[in-house]
Structure formats: structure tokens, C-alpha cells
Amino acid sequence: MLTKRIIPCLDIKDGRTVKGINFENIRDAGDPVELGALYAAQGADELVFLDITATNERRKTLAELVIDIARHINIPFTVGGGISSVADVSVLLQSGADKISVNTSAFKNPELIDQLSREFGSQCIVLAIDTRYEDGDWYVYLNGGRVKTTVKAFDWAKEAVDRGAGEILLTSMNNDGTKKGFALDITAQLAQNLNVPVIASGGAGTMEHFQEVFDTAQADAALAASIFHYKEIEIPALKTFLYNNGVNIRF
């Protein structure tokens, strides 16, 4: 049976991981390759690398980093952050990325999703959506959550899937950082109505939160960052917990 996926997310700036990561058993916690390899060895099912570098050098640095990751890590990984053209994607996939994620650029130019899926196949195009619940519905936010739109998250997700997005990475801004659990309602709405996998993100604080996003919301995968980086939850223990509670998990 196809398993639910656990996905650690690593933020990258100038080729280094950011956020105060504290692992005593690796030499350089700022090295994305070493940290990614550690997560892979612990049983992570995939990795997401989100580049937040803002400089002009970012493209070159990122491509070099992707080559380094692909050389050393034997599980699939997605690269996202500031990707806005077919050329950007081509370089990253040729460097060894399995998938790329697009967010603001795709919202501003939805035709980009059609182009990317035609050129590279839907299976490697992940649409990332940042969403916030307000005034009775979930709305799309852009630019890392700084810019509000009047478009509903479900409507945008559906359009993106019709255009060829192969997966949706849904982050609830209301839940992100709260450690009070994932946004089950909007995750469920997408996961149960779209025929592509939905990755839930934002809000994980306990192992039970993962179980409920898989069981109740029927998410296909769950992504988290700081709880893994700060070792509040370790992946082997999380997978054992989920397995013991009847969630289909890879060991």
C-alpha cells in the first residue's frame, strides 16, 4: 500500500541551512547536505529545501547545492523558493532535483504551471500555497505570507491542478508556528476533492497532530521544520507512533 509521507523542510540561505538547528551528532548543522542525509537515514520519506536567499547570486549557488544534495542523498527531494521560469526549473531538475515547487510566481502567471507540466511532467511540479483563514474562508497569500489576495485557497488549488500541478503543498498561516496542530478543515477539503497528493504544512507540535492530519484530513504527506530541527519530535519515534496507531508508514 502507498504510505503516508513524513517530510522535513530545510530553509536555505546562501547555501546554508537557517534556523537554530541543534544536532550534536553531525559535524556541521548548517550544512544542508549533512542535515538532509541525517534525516534520510532516520527514515524521512522526502525532503524539501526552501531557498530564501535574496541575492543575485542565488541561482548559481542553488544549482550547485542541488548537485551536492543529489550526489549524497538517496531519497527524493523538492526544491523551492523564488522559482519563476522554465529555465530556472530546467537547471534545477538537471542538477538532480526530483521536484520543484512554485508559489507566488505561479499565482501571478498561472500559465507557468501549464508550461512547466508540459515541459517536465506534472509529477515534478509542486504548487505551494500559503493560506490564512479570515472572514469565513481560506484565502491565498503571496510573497511568503506578506501579501493578501482575494482568491480562495481551494479555488486556486483546483485551477492549478487543472493546469497540471502534480502535488499541492498547503501551509496554513494561522497554524504555522503554533504547535497546536495542522489546519484539518482546509487540508481535508483539498485532499478529499483534488486528485493529486496534498502535503499538509504548518502547526505540527505533537505526534498526534500527524496522526489526525493523516486520519481525519486524509493528507497524503505532512511537512514540518522546527519540531524536527529542535528534536522535539524525532522521525523514528514519530514513525513508530504512527505505525502503532494504524497509519500506513514506511519503515
Partner: protein, 197 residues
């Protein structure tokens, strides 16, 4: 030992090259007929659309070169599908090493099936040298919308709504639907087993 990766228009092969590199093997990427014919091992990878890939192979006569190979050949993902006789994907006649057809996953009426299948699924009924020291029900990474139907060449089975061929083997031809290069330690073991043949 000379290991060749067939170069054509279907997907990036960087990950596969790196997976070989981790096993200490240099994979030569080429579409040169002579290079392919004289290799000790041939890997035929691929991610993409069947008819476009078959047209490309035919224009360069690579379909015939591959079909006539006598050394061990490993098809991966689309490479496996193209080694079957026919694919429903844009009604495409394929190379025809394996006597089976490639079909699209169909969502059952009563529940929504996610297509493509993306993620880790288990492989069972393992009976091939490819799976030496690979435990029954090991998890492999799959990304695909089409599958090879079960047949007498099936040497591993996976279930996604239905049972289908996770791996095929006939004479010197081996093929896997999943991505061993992305399937952690067990995937690396399968590549190593192929290289050991």
C-alpha cells in the same frame, strides 16, 4: 566493467548517475550505438511521455539496438514501460521485450484515486536476482500514472487499487517501475544486484 546509461529525451538522469557513483561505478551517458552494444551493463531510464520517447528512439534506431542487446539491461520507470509491447499512453507501440501492456490507473467510482501515484509503496512476490538480500514488502519510491499489467515475466508485485508489475524479467532484460536510485538503501541494493549479474 563498462556501464552505460542510454541517453534520450526522457527525463533527467543525474540522480541515477549519482546513485551509481555512490556504488563506485561511473555511468557513461550515451546514445552511441556502438558504445551501447559494447557495454557490460546497460541502464535504460526514463521519466516522461511514452509516444514522444518512442518516436525519439525510433528516429535514432535505438529501439532496435536496445531490443537486440545480449548483456544485462535494466529498464527504470518509463524505460520499463517502453520495454513492454504496447502503452495506452497516446496509443504507443513499444519495444516489445516483455509480453504485457501498459495501462493507465483508473479511479474506482467509490473513492478518489490520486494519479500519478507518488510515494513509497511495498513490493512483494519477489523472485529475481535483482532482489537478493531485499526483504519481501520492502518500500520503493514510485512516481507514475501508467502501469505494466501482471504477466508471466512479473517478478515483483505492487498494489495501487490493483496489483501490477513492480518489476519484470525476461532473459537478459530486467525492469523496475519504481526508482531504485531514489529508494534509499534497498534501492541501492537492487542497483548493486543488477551490476553484480
Amino acid at each position: 566493467m563498462k556501464t552505460v546509461i542510454v541517453k534520450y529525451n526522457a527525463g533527467n538522469i543525474r540522480s541515477l548517475q549519482f546513485a551509481l557513483e555512490r556504488l563506485g561505478v561511473n555511468g557513461i551517458v550515451t546514445d552511441d550505438h556502438e558504445e551501447i552494444r559494447t557495454a557490460d551493463k546497460v541502464i535504460f531510464p526514463g521519466v516522461g511521455e511514452a509516444s514522444t520517447a518512442m518516436n525519439y528512439l525510433k528516429e535514432r534506431n535505438l529501439d532496435k539496438v536496445i531490443a537486440d542487446l545480449k548483456q544485462p539491461v535494466l529498464g527504470i520507470c518509463l524505460g520499463m514501460q517502453l520495454l513492454c509491447k504496447y502503452s495506452e499512453e497516446n496509443d504507443t507501440p513499444c519495444i516489445g521485450v516483455f509480453d504485457t501492456e501498459v495501462k493507465r490507473f483508473q479511479s474506482p467510482v467509490e473513492n478518489l484515486l490520486k494519479i500519478p501515484q507518488i510515494g513509497w509503496n511495498n513490493i512483494a512476490g519477489l523472485h529475481s536476482v535483482l532482489f537478493e538480500h531485499v526483504p519481501e514488502n520492502s518500500y520503493m519510491y514510485f512516481v507514475h500514472s501508467y502501469y505494466a499489467a501482471l504477466c508471466s515475466d512479473t517478478v515483483a508485485i505492487t498494489n495501487y487499487v490493483i496489483n501490477y508489475s513492480a518489476a519484470l524479467q525476461k532473459d537478459n532484460f530486467y525492469a523496475v517501475q519504481f526508482h531504485p536510485e531514489k529508494s534509499a538503501e534497498d534501492g541501492a541494493r537492487i542497483i548493486q544486484n543488477f551490476l553484480n549479474i
